[in-house]
Amino acid sequence: MRKVELLAPAGDLARAKTAIRYGADAVYIGGQLFSLRSRASNFTMDDIREICAFAKDYGCAIHVTVNMIPHDEDFEGLREYLIKLQEYGVKAIICASTAIMKIARECAPKLEIHCSTQMSVTNSLAAKFMREEFGVDRVVLARECTMEQVKEITANCDIETEAFIHGGMCVNYSGRCTLSNRMTLRDANRGGCAQSCRWQYHLYDEDKEISDDLLFTSGSKDLFAADMIYDLIEAGVSSFKIEGRMKTEYYIASVISAYRHLIDEILETGKPLSAERMAYHKKEILRGENRETCIGFYQGVPGSESIIYHPNSDASVNHDFLATVKSYDDTKKTAVIETRNPFDVNEAFEVLSPGRENRSFTVNSIRNEDGEYIEKSRKPMALLEIPVPFELRAEDILRRAR
């Protein structure tokens, strides 16, 4: 089977490096200008230059989102920005404005142009138009496409396709929702989305409320398309995109690593995996997920099963991410770790390490920064020392074993 691109999100330099270490073929990031997700940390120009150099060492590509729907004042500095992206070695920009595409073609012709999902491309004729008029190299398909439609679009146009496989989903067509604008005056198409679709609404039939037991809401469950990976590869889709530039380092590491293993196993065997192997990979992917999931549109237009109707949907926040490794002393067989979530002595840990199978051990003792032995770790970002029976590497991730 042909190789496909695993495309990871990253909200800052640390998370981008994590995504690359854990097996992403490409990482998409946002600069501090021209990008959606204004609440993601986003990259300075120095960060972009650094991550391009870092990615090059791993044979990884960097894509930059230039995907806001711009107002006139947003074009200021755009040309200089695009020229710098090209100079730093960015492979592609992801755009939702035809004007930005035209400017990019003029001033930074080496940059690939990827048509953002904000443009909601749902058929091959639309993709051909974007190719012919704006020189688009790839279209990110709208999340509203079914598997059959993805197959047909990919077969019917001579342009690369990219499909989402995991992460948050707009319940509305991307780029065509201004609920946030109306509710909060924050422009959803310029990074200010307040996720007003997830709020609660009274629903009236004329003057009679029909939502008295349960208010109307329309927040979508996250996409989880592990079951579709084989079909998407078979369909000829070039890039498999994971959403989540605002997600944590732990999410990035665990989800990217798990999809890396899943994709590689399919590519190696050249056939669909057994139910047992799929169950294993799906369990691994969901270790990093703390939200409810659905299959999106891949198996048809989703109904009530895809919507989160109950409030406080994040109640089951995942506390599995315990620490990152700062250093390992091979002589003493101890590691210095930086904590995240609480844990106790005698808890079982699992190590996520790039390119290695997961390993487990039990924590027999914990020493704090003053050298005192403690029974419980409760403080986030504390530096602790623990014994570990095998070698760890800096930036390895420790999570609760299950």
Binding site: M119, L125, C145, M183
Partner: protein
Amino acid sequence: MNGKLSITCENPVLFTEYRQAGADEVILALKDSCFSPLKAYDKEEMVKLIEEAHQCGLDVSVLMNRLFHENDAAKACENMKRLIDAGADGIIFADTALAYTAKREGFMNRMIFQPETMMTSSFDAKVWHDLGTQAVMISSLLTKEEVIHIASCIDNGGVNVHGYQMMSVSGRPLLSAYSDHRGLYPLKNKGNLFLVEEKRDGKMPVYENDYCTMVFSDYIQESFDEMKAFMKAGVKRFVIDSWMLKETCIKDTLRIYRAYLDADQTEDMVRAYRETYGELPLSSGYYEQKTVR
């Protein structure tokens, strides 16, 4: 002509009255082709309606603003060609598949690009102007100054001056899903449904058809105070969305915009209109309030 006054129409019997009230054009929705709650007509009905409207002295633009899927994009393009052949004066679209076909067939000058939320800069408007479109509809999310600026940069700008504005469109049957979840009666293709946010008061019309669920603004856009400036800036297309408005209100609305376009006296008409329809949630929308990032 100072600009074309166009209005959505759900009842062809009213063609003559709309013409008399000042409309230059009616917008008719094509079945299976719209993100719109308007009553829609199939292709052959549309062919007849185009002829009828022309006989009344009205142009016809066909609303085809859906995003088409791979299995129905080609059919949509065929329908569009048939309607162009039948004399449709414009095709209102959002899906670039239609532009692809129009360019190949040589009728880009009939195409009216209306990507709703997406046309927010003069740079993007210029791109679509230069592609040879008949009109580029400027987003209703902009301030008055932004609309004026964009319109002054092209010679084919359009503005949705009046009516409820679409705020979101989902490919999912959100009302049916909610109804299923709650065990309620069917809510698809049902009018007079409204959403009211838990901590706010505005009533937002919501409608689900076979292809989408749409939420509309809790206000009716009104642009009387902005008309002179828009005309001076060179706006060429003024659109009234009549959905949910009563017939007398629609005709009164048409008369006022017509008066502006004809440079007639409007002060008394506007005052009377606001008194008569004071219960409606008329608003200047985003003209005086700029969204932030």
